[in-house]
């Protein structure tokens, strides 16, 4: 067995729930999110064998978002991506999730795809992890003002992606 407790994979389980959450938020399907968790775990193991990241959560968030966005991109090219899925534990959630929400998720993932890794990380840390700008800046090793700039740029990208849909809702 390649893994030894406390060395090569040390600490991953502490963050695994968050990794799952970040992935699930943009993929919307349990098993897709678990695939990302597994990918990230493999990368963590490789990274850890060289050097433990100074900011493990920041490193994991960045890698997870990259993997999740990659997966979203693949899903968007899949004809069945908007079909309600019934895979195992996601039955209840999928059955009740509207196509509107699935479309919103795809739009947001598409907007995030156009952001830099830093902008993406700041946005997710702020909106979903509810961190302060000071905490985000400390974790990412940037100035607080830089974190705020990344946040605004990221929000603008999401807004610009969604704005045509809002116009459709106002003028159907």
């Amino acid at each position: 067995m390649a893994l030894v407790e406390g060395t090569s994979s040390g600490g991953f389980e502490q963050y695994a729930g968050q990794v799952y959450g970040w992935a699930y938020r943009f993929l919307g399907h349990h098993h897709d999110a678990l695939d990302v968790v597994q990918d990230v775990f493999l990368r963590w193991d490789q990274q850890y064998s060289r050097a433990r990241p100074l900011q493990p959560r920041g490193w994991l968030r960045r890698v997870t978002l990259n993997r999740a966005i990659d997966a979203c991109r693949k899903n968007q090219t899949n004809v069945g991506s908007l079909v309600l899925r019934t895979d195992g534990l996601t039955v209840e959630e999928s059955a009740s999730e509207s196509l509107d929400r699935a479309a919103l998720r795809e739009d947001i993932a598409s907007a995030l795809d156009r952001l830099t890794e830093m902008q993406r990380s700041v946005l997710v840390a702020k909106v979903y992890d509810e961190m302060t700008f000071a905490e985000i800046a400390n974790e990412l090793g940037v100035a607080v003002s830089t974190a705020k700039t990344h946040y605004l740029r990221a929000l603008q990208a999401v807004r610009d992606r969604l704005r045509p849909k809002w116009a459709d809702e106002v003028n159907p």
């Binding site: 994979s9 943009f26 968790v37 895979d87 039955v91 302060t132 999401v158």
Partner: protein
């Protein structure tokens, strides 16, 4: 407060960190300047859209040997789920649970303890092992991950 000052506080306002000292000036400019108001409202709508994505179900994580097992702790409300769909979902749940347990080489006792086993995430970085080679192939081409996972499981179940 002018538009430039307003822009400097926009991130704080959208991020819920606007100080009490800055709020009156910010709100005052918001009422007076249609352009800044439009900017703030559209950015606020973007935040609300992001927040509209549902929270993931909480998972618990535990280690069994070199494996990490993620278990869902609750299943939430069933709402208007029909009995037929409930039975269908239960069947799928059992089938997937059994499938994952078998694929990962877990015994039924392991699979049934402490929640439903929904995934076994495993990493092998030893380059001199078959598992390490498979893990490397998986990283190079994640699209083939299912094959890689099955090979890993088969390799581990060898006597």
């Amino acid at each position: 407060m002018n538009c430039k000052d307003f822009q400097l506080l926009l991130a704080d306002a959208l991020g819920g960190e606007l100080s009490e000292a800055d709020r009156p000036g910010f709100d005052g400019h918001l009422r007076q300047c249609p352009r800044c108001r439009g900017e703030f409202e559209s950015m606020s709508a973007a935040v609300r859209s992001l927040q509209a994505l549902p929270d993931p179900q909480p998972v618990s994580v535990r280690r069994v040997g070199g494996r990490l097992i993620l278990s869902e702790s609750s299943h939430g409300s069933l709402g208007s789920f029909s009995r037929g769909m409930l039975r269908y979902a239960a069947g799928l749940l059992i089938a997937f649970t059994a499938g994952y347990a078998l694929r990962a080489g877990l015994t039924p006792r392991e699979a049934g303890s402490g929640g439903t086993v929904v995934q076994v995430a495993e990493a092998g970085s030893g380059k001199d092992t078959l598992q390490g080679a498979i893990a490397g192939a998986h990283l190079r081409n994640p699209a083939r991950s299912n094959l890689a996972k099955c090979l890993i499981a088969m390799y581990e179940r060898r006597p």
